[in-house]
Symmetry: C2
Subunit: 332 residues, 2 copies
Amino acid sequence: MPLAGEDRVKLQSLQEWIALDLTALEAEVDRLLQSDDPMVQEICDHLAKGKGKRFRPTLLMLTAKHGSQSEPDAVFVAACIEIVHLATLVHDDFIDSAETRRGNATVNVKWGPAAALIMGDWLYSKVFALLCARGLFDAMRIVGMTTHQMSVAEMMQLEFHRKLDLSEEDYLTVIQRKTGSLIEASCELGARLHPDLQAHAPAFAEYGRKVGLAFQITDDILDYRGEDQRLGKPVGGDWREGRITLPFIAARRNAPRQEQLELERAVQLADDPADLWSDVHAFVQKHRGVEFAYERAHHYVELARQAISGVPVNPQQQILSTAAEYVLGRLH
Amino acid sequence: MPLAGEDRVKLQSLQEWIALDLTALEAEVDRLLQSDDPMVQEICDHLAKGKGKRFRPTLLMLTAKHGSQSEPDAVFVAACIEIVHLATLVHDDFIDSAETRRGNATVNVKWGPAAALIMGDWLYSKVFALLCARGLFDAMRIVGMTTHQMSVAEMMQLEFHRKLDLSEEDYLTVIQRKTGSLIEASCELGARLHPDLQAHAPAFAEYGRKVGLAFQITDDILDYRGEDQRLGKPVGGDWREGRITLPFIAARRNAPRQEQLELERAVQLADDPADLWSDVHAFVQKHRGVEFAYERAHHYVELARQAISGVPVNPQQQILSTAAEYVLGRLH
């Protein structure tokens, strides 16, 4: 692995810079997860336990920050982005029939698939209703387009289920829409909420898009790295659920035709192709799929940094360049 | 049944008044059901086949109409309301594990539950994205709040599953949020899009709310009326899926304590309470549940008419009074 010598940038060290905002964010997230309905509240409380790393709101608030704290609306919009992210996880877990998420039972397992569907709808619609009620129509427009892109990506993932010859191009389209779009929205909205960065919003959007691609590729790499379970997800989950990702795509491209065919045949003959994980893992290792994927992730981090290299405003330009490195640092 | 002597108002006769708008609506709905993604498009084409009666957009366009045709945005917003309605049907059919809808296979049956979930998300988010892109933030705000209310209602329905002692009050809360809210939104938005009716938007919202209650109650009555299958849904579906509705609530209230207990015991002892439909049907008939529900529906239609009785603008005041009667006319 070509990782040696690079510094791992911890998300926490970036988050120290916006410590006050993050405290405010947690309060906003808690406030968004309130309902008069007892069953909704029960599920909200459960979801609140499985707290994520707040990567997307962190990027938004890092971008929006000026002076001692962020724009007043930035924290609220950041919380909305986190709730949208949570909604996608609830729906994703249903689609994947996942049993655990962040160490807790998923909504579909604990309350059933209907509750998971409704809960996702509840979270999405709450964000839309509150963004509009607060008159944040710019944010509403961007979040609306983003969630729409994400739904198309979900459908593409169904279409590409266990499609062994998935092209890198189609893979990139899916991850751009599924993961890149919400990170892009976070950075674009952060810039729009900063008085001196509004004109540079397209550059920050481009930055977020590329960070998002790198982020998803590293996620997909971690799923092929047997030694690493830090994400709280079992390794090999993507293959088992039929998701073809970049390490596999690259390995398959590198493999001789004969080995490609052998794997295809094994998949066709298997009672359940999910059981072939150890073969697939060995195949990806042998044909250096992870190494290729890492190079691509590195490439997108570079493109992310370039996207904002011309932005004259500091410290955003500098701190977001560091934030992009965090994405690669997750692999250490 | 106290229906004799009243005129049945056909939806079509109301729709003649907005014939041009309805043609434009169909074109807008078709345009909204377009996607670059082949699987999404396939499902859209399937959904387009099961065309509904366009009740909600009809109310919106009847309200918004002035001069020879509706406000330019009214047709677009009406199409958005119809797509939101379609999204709720797709998610509802998944929740109910329904097999057919408007004579066609449901999305969950034909493409699987994951596709049904994603397709609903796709439809909702498309509406949000397009309303924002067009700058219709007032509509966006109202539609956002409405979809949120609808999601709470869905969760309440799960909570109240086969709850034999469901109160009329809780029943009304559910149907207000689930059905009333979108019809309310249609009428409020129609008024807001009419230059002379903007100031009366609250009255039209109230009208829609009450029409919505009457509409859902008549729907629930039809589910207890063995002779009537015009809705394309099998009779008894609500009971089988565990939905307690007004005819049952009223009959149970009218029944002597002994008969209430007998029914409760039968439900507790049944392998599958769904099989008790013929007993439940007889129980509701005996204790005049349908008659009570009809009286309530009639009451809400009266309240709807009163809500706009003070609106000086015609023909809206008159034609919408007639539209409210259509809801009862469905029972003839």
